[in-house]
């Protein structure tokens, strides 16, 4: 079974600083996708970043980047130059490449950004 673990229920960062959210997962598969989704108070689930397991290069989207360590099954999200609008719940998610219907989410990390 695949499980996704986010060990930090809550994190806090000062505006303009950098914060890293942790995620580990358990799988016996070699080909899969990993995602970070953001859920602001509006409840909308918004895709932040996506990583394909076969790609060694870490994905980057503007201020968001990941540290993907396949051997360690770790997929952390780094947010640089944090902004007030980054405050939200962040969910790490895993999906096997061939199983679109089986996305597994972590329990989420609530990020607070202090002005």
């Amino acid at each position: 079974a695949q499980t996704v673990t986010q060990s930090q229920p809550e994190m806090s960062v000062q505006e303009a600083e950098t914060v890293t959210l942790s995620c580990t997962y358990d799988t016996s598969e070699s080909d899969y996708y990993l995602f970070w989704y953001k859920q602001p108070p509006s409840r909308q689930m918004i895709l932040v970043i996506r990583q394909e397991a076969y790609k060694q290069q870490n994905a980057t989207e503007n201020r968001f980047s990941v540290n993907f360590q396949k051997a360690a099954k770790s997929f952390s999200l780094k947010i640089s130059d944090s902004q007030l609008g980054d405050a939200a719940m962040y969910f790490c998610a895993y999906r096997r490449r061939e199983k679109n219907n089986d996305m597994r989410f972590g329990a989420g990390t609530r990020l607070t950004v202090k002005p």
Partner: protein, 114 residues
């Protein structure tokens, strides 16, 4: 312009009632999903559906049934509502066999069963 839209946004109802939540996507995707997010924020898939098959998470009670009138819609019907059904329900869609294969989510429907 909303890609995945759900209605209603809030739904308050009594135990034992039957209710439906509607979902529409205008992305031309061929696969749609329903997720349940409980009070602890755990997000679990309930169904996935495309024109080929409906896949049901085995933990979902048969009081829940997805209904798809066409490719752009996947409505969630719930019979005999129970207190434990209170949660936020998310619809999502994606296009299979696309390189990116990203799931896009609706804004959620908060269901409160009294």
């Amino acid at each position: 312009d909303t890609a995945v839209s759900q209605t209603p946004k809030y739904l308050v109802t009594q135990m034992g009632n039957d209710k439906s939540i509607k979902c529409e996507q205008n992305l031309g995707h061929d696969t749609m999903y329903w997720y349940k997010q409980d009070s602890k924020k755990f997000l679990k898939i309930m169904f996935s559906y495309n024109n080929k098959e409906l896949i049901i998470n085995e933990t979902v009670p048969n009081r829940f049934s997805p209904k798809s009138p066409d490719k752009a819609h996947l409505n969630l019907h719930i019979n005999s509502l129970e207190l434990g059904d209170s949660a936020v329900y998310f619809c999502a869609s994606s296009q299979e066999n696309l390189a990116k294969n990203i799931q896009y989510f609706g804004a959620g429907t908060r269901l409160s069963v009294l």
